[in-house]
Amino acid sequence: MSVLVDDDTRVVVQGITGGEGKFHAEQMMEYGTNIVAGAVPGKGGQEAAGVPVYDTVHEAVEEENADTSVIFVPPAFAGDAVFEALDTDLDLAVAITEGIPTQDMARVNKRLSETDTRLIGPNCPGLITPGEAKLGILPGNIFAEGNVGLVSRSGTLTYQVVDNLTNRGIGQTTAIGIGGDPIIGTDFVDALELFENDDETEAIVMCGEIGGEDEEEAAAFIDDYVDTPVAGFIAGRTAPPGKRMGHAGAIVSGSGTGTAESKISALNDAGVPVGDTPEEVADHIEEFLG
C-alpha cells in the first residue's frame, strides 16, 4: 500500500520539452513511473522522453488517459500551468517549480477549494512510493520499501532523514515533499490524514521548518485524530527573526510567529517527540517500530 502514487498512476509531464522536464521525465520512467504523455503549448505532435507531446493537458487526458500531472514549467507560466491541471479534473497535480509569485498561488489556492484535484507543491521535490513510482525529482536510490510515511517542507532535508532511516534498514511507504512556499496545496494535515488512513504506514516522520503555523495546526490534528506514532523535526531553530532563510515561506515574522520553539512545543504537547538531529528522528522511529 501507499498513498497518492503507485505504478498504476498515469502521468502527463507539463513542460516535458524543457531541460529539467525532459531529464526528470526520463529519471521518473527509469524508476518505474508510468509516464504516458507530455503537454507543452506549441509542441503538440512531437515526441519527448519517448512519449507523445500534446499542446494541452486536456488532449493528454483525452488521448492517453492521464490522471496525474507533474509540472516543470518556468515560474512565470507555472501558475497558469497549475490552473490548466486543475481545470482538467486530474486526480493529482505536482508542481515542482520554484519561484511562482505568491499572488498567483493565492489565485490557485482559491480555485483549489472548488475542485477535487489535489495539488502537491509548488517548490517541492515531489513524492515517491519506493519500488513503485516517483513524481518529481527525488533521487530514487536512497529510498527503500517499508512502513514509514514521511512528509516534509524541504527537499534535501527529506533526503537526509530518509538516508538516516534507510541506513538502518527502515523503509518508507510514501515520502511527500509538500514544498517550502507560503501558499501550498497539500499541507501537513492533509498528508497526515492520508498516512493515518493507510494500512501499511506504521509510523510517520514530519519535517517542518520555521515560518507560518502549519506545524502548529498539524500538532493539533495529531492530538485529535492520529493514532499512528509520529516523530518530528523542525529546521531553523537558529534563524534570526525577519530574515528569509532560502524558502519563501521560511521566515520568522517580526512579531515572533513561526518560531521553531512554538512548533516544537506544540508537537511535544501533542505527544510527538522532536529530534535535535536527523539521527535522533531515526532513533524515535526505530523505537516506534520496536
Binding site: 519561484g99 493565492a106 480555485r111 534535501t156 507560503p182 534570526p240 530574515k243 532563510m245
Partner: protein, 384 residues
Amino acid sequence: MKLHEYQAKQVFADAGIPTPESQLASDVDGVLTAAQEIGYPVAVKAQVQVGGRGKAGGIELVDTDEEAREAAESIIGMDLKGYHVDQVLVEGAVDFVDELYVGITMDRGEGKPVAMVSTKGGVNIEEVAEEDPDAIAREHIDPSFGMHPYQARKAVYDAGVDPAVARDVSSVLTTLYQLWDDRDGADAEINPLMVTADDEVIAADAVMNIDEDALFRQPELAEMEAEAAGSGDDLEQKADEYNFDYVRLEGNTGIIGNGAGLVMTTLDLVDHYGGEPANFLDVGGGAKAERIANALDMVFSDDNVDSVVFNIFGGITRGDEVARGINEALEQFDEIPKPVVVRLAGTNWEEGMEILNEDLVTVEQTLEDAVQRAVEYAEEVNDQ
C-alpha cells in the same frame, strides 16, 4: 524586496495617495536647500531598510537651519543597525490630530490577502496585534475578485475611524490594495496615516515590500531595487551578485549547503554541538563547479569565519560537480585560508569523493560528524 521609504512614497503618490512634500538629499547642503524650499518644520529621515529608525536616532524633527545642519551631520554617514546611511528624506512635518494604520498583506494561513485598519497608528503594529488584536479590523479579500468597495468601508467602520475621514481612509485603503495587487506586493503599509485638524489624511510613512519572485514582471520596481542597492551589508551585496540565498549571522562557523531546509538544519546542528553559525548559504539545486567555488569565496570573505562546513546531499546537485568546484576554489591558495570540512552524499557522491583533493579539505561521512569537526576547528582557531 523592500523599497526605500522615498521610493514607496513615490509609488503611493503616483497612485494618488496624499503624501507630504519631500526631497531626497545626500549631504548637508542638500538637506538645507530642501528644508528651506519645503519650509520648517521638517523631518530628516534616514533612508535605510530597517525598522525602528526613530528610536535609533535616524529621524529628527527640525525647526531651523542650525537644527537641520546638526541633524544632517549626525544622520548622514551614521551606522544604523548595521546599515550605512547614504541618503535622507527631508519632508514637511505634518500637524496631526490622529494617527491611523492601514495595510495589506498576504495571510498565509488563509492563503488570501488581508486588509487591515486600526486607529492605533504611529506605533509598532505587530505589538498592537499581539497586545490588543481587536484594535485591528481585518477584511480578507478574494484574490480573484479583488477588494469589493464595501470591504474597504467595512474595515474602516469596524476599526472605529472618525466618520469625518472614513470616506478618505476607505479611498486610501482601496488604492493601497490596487497597488499591492498590481505591483505584486508582499506588504503595503502606511503607518502612520496622519489625520490633520482639517480632516485631511496624509501618508507620513510608506512601506512597500515586493514579492521577489514577481520582479520579472515588475521592471520599474526591479529598477528601483537596483537604485536602492549599495546601502546594504557588503557581504549580502556580494551574495546578491552571486545570486545566493545568503544570510549573515554572528558566529564563526561558515556554512554552505544545498536546499533551504538542509542548510537551516546544518546551522541548527552547529549550534547543537556548541558552535556558532556565521551564515546561511544555500547554493540551490543543480549547482555547477563554478557556483560551488563562488560559495567558498563568499564565505571566505567573511572575516568572522574561522572554519567552514560544506554539506551537500545531492538530488539534482551532483557530487562530482561539487568536488570540482571545491578543488577549483582551494587550489588557487598557497595556504587554505580557513579549514574546510566536506560531507558529500546523494547523487554521484562516489565520483565526487574520487575527484575531491583530500589534501585540501577534511572529509566526513555523516552530517553530524562534519558539523562537529567544523565546530572543533572553529574553536581551535579561537583559542589561538
